[in-house]
């Protein structure tokens, strides 16, 4: 730890601002991904039909959820990419050490999580407008969000993205520490998937999934996500404590 905390935070702030400028192109991919997702969303997410006297009914559900899922993946991959050499060494061209770099990266990922969350939710409205003008279904029924719900949606989506970022960052750090993790991580993950296929809903993966995705209480959800993400980030920073630059 540096002796002068003020200098330390001033540096982290500088590095954070630097990243906002230097990594600005990650938003280009975000935009393209969300627009692509909107195109994919023109297929119904689910469709239910049934018949009664005189009427055949079908209810097609549409949503811009793909945009949100794509943004999750974007968060994971972006966090992974910023641990790679090309991004990491930029910092050491200027002033940095591993901790200040880690702190600045976390601040940066926090920022892009919220930008990702806001745009992902707002892209649903863009989808709504495009849907209205391009689809000739007889009737469109929109579940409009209230402002409170909009707020919840943005917060929850941003936190999910942050969680993905924390996972991606840790994965990136591990792979940077040793190339072998580039093989181990996918193998473990696919192994868990296969185990999940065998044991169904009781597997670790399913439980983890439901732990976050079935939490209906917003406050507990926020706690779960922030605590998990903090732990993941903390682990990443401490793993990278002794990482050498420019090897």
């Amino acid at each position: 730890m540096p002796s002068n905390m003020n200098n330390y935070f001033a540096l982290v702030k500088k590095q954070y601002k630097f990243k906002l400028k230097a990594y600005v192109s990650v938003f280009n991919s975000l935009i393209i991904l969300q627009l692509l997702a909107i195109l994919f969303s023109f297929n119904p997410t689910s469709s239910r039909g049934f018949g009664g006297y005189g009427v055949d009914a079908s209810l097609n559900n549409y949503s811009a959820n793909i945009s949100i899922v794509f943004t999750f993946l974007w968060g994971f991959i972006t966090a992974f990419i910023i641990t790679t050499k090309a991004y990491r060494e930029d910092d050491f061209t200027f002033v940095s050490n591993n901790q200040s770099q880690g702190m600045a990266n976390i601040l940066y990922l926090l920022t892009i999580s919220f930008i990702g969350g806001i745009t992902a939710i707002l892209s649903g409205y863009l989808y709504h407008v495009m849907f209205y003008f391009t689809t000739n279904t007889s009737e469109i029924y929109t579940q409009t969000m209230t402002l409170t719900e909009l707020f919840i949606a943005i917060v929850a989506t941003s936190l999910f993205i942050l969680f993905c970022c924390a996972l991606g960052y840790l994965a990136g750090i591990l792979v940077q520490l040793h190339k072998i993790f580039g093989i181990i991580l996918p193998v473990v993950f696919i192994g868990l998937l296969m185990f999940n296929g065998i044991s169904g809903g009781d597997s670790f993966l399913a439980k983890t999934f439901f732990f976050y995705f079935q939490e209906g209480n917003l406050v507990i959800f926020i706690l779960k996500i922030t605590i998990t993400s903090s732990l993941l980030f903390l682990l990443s920073i401490s793993l990278f404590r002794n990482k050498e630059a420019r090897v």
């Binding site: 009664g52 009427v55 097609n60 745009t119 409205y125 709504h128 009737e139 998937l193």
Partner: protein, 255 residues
């Protein structure tokens, strides 16, 4: 199920990763420097515009939509059971969709029903003194996720009387398709119970026809957010008239 989704996500992640790497490569060639920022600002502006416009799009308010008038907790009578259980049709009066009246002075009435749809739930009230036949058609709506698909979309049923033959021609079905734009799942997680099971399943669920008439209440049970339509042809005939039908008709007499 989850592994299927995760697998799908993995494949998508791979595609996106490739895409991102490619994009990073070309973007620095075509658009160097901080000008990238304007792309994000432009995009957010478009999103905010869309946000505003989406509120001006008609039909997105629940109250303005005819199909959505169904009150959540209103009980809908099961027309397959109502006359049998209550001996009258009174509780189903809201669902009277059409009525015909014919002068009639024969002694037997023969019922003939054909057409694309089945209509074999028939109740006959034989208490009439006047020499007319009243034909009433009751239909309860098909409801899915609180959306009423039937009201306003029910095609006309043809009923004619020639001599002593009452002919009912059921209409071909109207296809009603309703598109529902759902809220994003991160908000449904906190506002709906069990949102995962209902909607994460991809693809179609099989459409079902109503075939179950064994009920012990005159009201329909909600089944997975869906209420099946029931129909009833209710005849009021003079007491002296004998009614005949075909074998497949399910005729119930109310005396």
């Amino acid at each position: 199920m989850i592994s299927y989704i995760v697998m799908l996500i993995l494949i998508m992640a791979g595609i996106i990763a490739l895409f991102l790497i490619f994009f990073r490569y070309i973007s620095s060639k075509i658009m160097p420097g901080a000008r990238h920022r304007w792309l994000l600002i432009g995009y957010v502006t478009i999103l905010l515009l869309a946000f505003g416009i989406s509120y001006t799009i008609p039909g997105n308010e629940i109250d303005k939509n005819d199909r959505l008038k169904i009150v959540h907790d209103q009980d809908i009578p099961n027309l397959y059971a109502v006359p049998e259980f209550t001996g009258s049709i009174d509780i189903a009066q809201d669902y009277l969709t059409d009525e015909w009246t014919f002068d009639f002075d024969e002694e037997t009435l023969h019922l003939e029903i054909f057409g694309e749809d089945m209509l074999n739930n028939i109740a006959i009230e034989t208490t009439k003194e006047k020499q007319t036949i009243d034909v009433n058609l009751y239909v309860t709506p098909s409801i899915l996720n609180n959306i009423d698909f039937t009201t306003g979309s029910l095609p006309k049923t043809d009923v004619t009387l020639h001599d002593n033959v009452l002919t009912v021609e059921t209409p071909s079905r109207n296809h009603v398709e309703v598109s529902q734009l759902q809220k994003p799942f991160p908000v449904r997680q906190f506002t709906e119970s069990n949102y995962l099971n209902v909607d994460i399943e991809p693809g179609f669920s099989v459409s079902e026809e109503v075939d179950d008439t064994s009920v012990d209440s005159p009201y329909i049970d909600m089944d997975g957010g869906r209420i099946f339509s029931t129909e009833l042809l209710y005849l009021k005939v003079p007491a002296n008239v004998k009614v005949t039908g075909t074998e497949d008709m399910n005729i119930f007499f109310i005396d």
